[in-house]
Symmetry: C2
Subunit: 339 residues, 2 copies
């Protein structure tokens, strides 16, 4: 069941910020990719088919690269970082499979979502399989502290998704409530991916906390930029359609801001389209107009830069180490995606 | 979010075989129940609601009791057994939540399935949450070997479910292929639940293997009796409707046997009703008639007794210990459910 796993490299342009990270982790990342392929195997042919459809679809593998980079930053020299990085990517892949079922999404990374090809059933179950495989990999590394961090992350991620499900139909969601969703569904895995590096390297608590804080704030910035891109990115770049969040009735930060800043009439528009699910094709243009009127996209990006700044300061503890530079550049990459 | 968790005790009747086990584990099981309740909590209110709907619905909690019993059998005296037992029940609950989504089931344990009340989305995500919580509990116990066994089980269970998904529409499934599904989707968790007892008690490999073998064969017997009951049990006892497997197009052992023993015309009947999904209400009666004609139910139960006998022999290693008696009686309980 050999499958080519492209590690997306787009030199120049807005992705230049990722180049130092790619360079830093390239040799280890090759081992991660090989390890990932070796663990999607199963005699049940549907499992590698579904798993590899998503795994080989050209995600940037930012999360596993963060595990490798924070391990390198902390001078780790064993091979546990490769297995934990693969486990992080499997957890992420499992989440995507389940998310697409929950959201009824048709596309993922510019391809048909797995559920469109193999059905919701297979997507749920292959996600479960990958989660089981992820824990097996972690057990092989043998660090109970890393296991604790990643199993906590698994529970928190699911909690964030349920929170989003409950908030999905409430346009009156506050910015704080929405941030709690983002911390759970996105930032927690970034945080855990970064935290396990210093943990397996046996570094002091302060470094673990700093790496976690970097990951958490980077993850929040990442999600907010994603939210902004959903209303303004080019489709080829997003790998999904502009307005997907809108069509799925998702309340994201741009909407939270525009709703709070809007007139009574505008609030009725958001309620009709997002709460009541009565969005027509023409409504997306109106939504984008309202977001523009209230500066909601710009301010979402400004918020993202705020979390980027927090991530930057968290790294100050490591600033004398050369690996820290690559992690700093990732912040630039994440917040610059929008331009 | 306090919820009463009934530990089903039905003295006398066919459940008498469970009495010695219930007595053996009663004090520890109270702690398991309290621990379970303490870990379904979340500020996201939908999580305890969905989780407790199923957790408090009166399952027998056979799997966690097996963990407690094999721990006691091996002289374990810590409190890791309680946490592992709770983790096993959470894994089981997560599986049921996902199964009902995959199968489109409407009922579970005589109540509406969670997905009918909160939707497929919440069922998928709360299942993920419980799986994350299960791993957190295991990590607290600190046994890497128990973690290895249970994470392996998580992957194998999902594999078994995918296998069933693929086999669901194939009436030509062989008995061996079907057994591979049963080992994965049901027996693996029984096996893991039993194996972790001697593992945390630090007992030799031979005892771990014996406990695992007992659990594996007991689990197979359990599933085969379930398959037979689906075509003949009373609804109150099953907590689901007679013929659910038939209506869902599931190929179970009774069908595997009847198909192989049937005429060409009968095979067309099974193909139409199960493969093509064209089952009318009247077809269930015809299915039951064909199963009876070929002795498929009786022989499914005979097969179950065969695995029960294997489970019994696996216990021989422990037969001088009083706790082994309770585990032997469980075999009788499982295989006698059908009468």
């Amino acid at each position: 069941m050999g499958v080519v796993v492209p590690l997306e490299e787009r030199p120049g342009g807005t992705d230049a910020g990722l180049a130092p990270l790619l360079k830093l982790v390239a040799p280890a990342m090759e081992r991660v990719n090989a390890f990932i392929l070796s663990r999607t195997g199963s005699e049940v042919v549907m499992i590698p088919e579904v798993a590899n459809h998503l795994i080989s679809s050209g995600g940037k593998r930012l999360r596993p690269m963060l595990t490798l980079a924070t391990s390198a930053l902390c001078g780790y020299s064993g091979d546990g970082d490769v297995k934990l990085a693969a486990a992080v990517e499997f957890m992420h892949t499992a989440t995507l499979l389940h998310d697409d079922v929950v959201d009824g999404s048709e596309m993922r990374r510019g391809k048909l979502a797995a559920r469109m090809l193999w059905g919701n059933e297979a997507s749920v179950l292959v996600g479960d399989f990958l989660l089981g495989q992820a824990f097996k990999m972690m057990v092989e590394v043998g660090s109970l502290e890393a296991l604790r961090i990643l199993s906590e992350a698994a529970a928190v991620i699911a909690e964030g998704e349920v929170m989003q499900l409950a908030a999905a139909k409430n346009t009156a969601t506050t910015e704080d409530e929405y941030l709690a969703v983002v911390r759970g569904k996105t930032a927690e895995l970034f945080a855990a991916a970064c935290e396990v590096g210093p943990v397996i390297a046996g570094r002091p608590r302060a470094e673990q906390a700093a790496a976690r804080s970097y990951g958490m704030n980077l993850g929040i910035a990442f999600q907010l930029v994603d939210d902004a891109l959903d209303y303004g990115g080019r489709e080829a770049k997003l790998g999904k359609k502009v307005g997907d969040d809108f069509r799925e009735g998702k309340i994201t930060l741009p909407v939270v801001l525009a709703y709070r800043r809007g007139s009574a009439e505008e609030r009725l528009f958001w309620k009709r389209t997002l709460e009541d699910g009565d969005a027509q094709d023409a409504d997306l243009a109106e939504a984008i107009r309202l977001l523009g009127k209230h500066g909601a996209i710009e301010d979402t990006l400004a918020r993202a830069r705020h979390y980027g700044a927090m991530a930057r300061d968290a790294l100050a503890l490591f600033e004398d180490r050369s690996e820290a530079r690559a992690l700093l550049d990732v912040i630039g990459f994440v917040t610059a995606r929008a331009h």
